[in-house]
Point group: C2
Chain length 110, copies 2
DNA sequence: CTCTTGCTGAACCATATGGTTCAGTGTACG
DNA sequence: CGTACACTGAACCATATGGTTCAGCAAGAG
């Protein structure tokens, strides 16, 4: 199972609509902080913070090029999020309905 | 595409390790607030807040039964989270590498 | 009816989040 | 060199989050 902190950071990064849009934008190719900030009418500083959160979650990688910073996708971590959800879904699909499941499980203990 | 706010709440709910464990616990059958709180050594009030967040995200449903509250899974929303990740992954998998993708896309515009 | 038990709501607290402004710093360009 | 531009860092602010305690309130047991 994936480290809890990694999942924390990944899901938290995905919980913001601005950051999800940044990911979609980067899906079309790399961009600088300024290019990312422009459509959101947000300060460079604000955008840099979002990018930093995504970078911390491993969803984005960045690199300084001249006086700009090139931001690119680094989406390996989505696999972690996805596989947690899948793991959880198996639990859920296997579940019976409400009370029934509870008593069925108890019965299986006998 | 799913409503942004729904995704916000779903991912935010999943971003907390305690809440993820609650979901796993409920995957084994329904439980009361007290039963959920016990293994975490947390106050009932604290646990109730977590359950409320999960309920708001549509990941859990609850029902008052006598003087306890029965909490059960309501995992439909995980589908939303999953399908967003899948959508995003298609973008990502289709992407070429870094700069190459950028120039390739520009070329296609001609 | 009374007592206990399980949950609830309000109030509070510390820290995190999402944003800003302003004053640098470093690189490109004339 | 000098100026402009893109980003960076520090300081600040409002609101949200994750937790607590304490005082109810409603349901079940005797």
């Amino acid at each position: 199972m994936v480290q809890q902190e990694v999942l924390d950071r990944t899901f938290a990064a995905l919980a913001d609509p601005t950051r999800r849009q940044i990911l979609v934008r980067l899906g079309q190719g790399p961009a600088t902080i300024g290019e990312l900030a422009e459509p959101f009418d947000m300060s460079l500083t604000g955008m840099k913070k979002h990018v930093h959160v995504l970078e911390n979650a491993g969803l984005v990688t960045t690199e300084k090029v001249g006086r700009s910073r090139r931001c690119r996708l680094g989406a390996e971590r989505l696999e972690d999020a996805m596989s947690w959800i899948r793991f959880y879904q198996r639990l859920w699909e296997r579940r019976l309905d409400g009370l029934d499941a509870y008593f069925t499980l108890k019965k299986e203990d006998d």
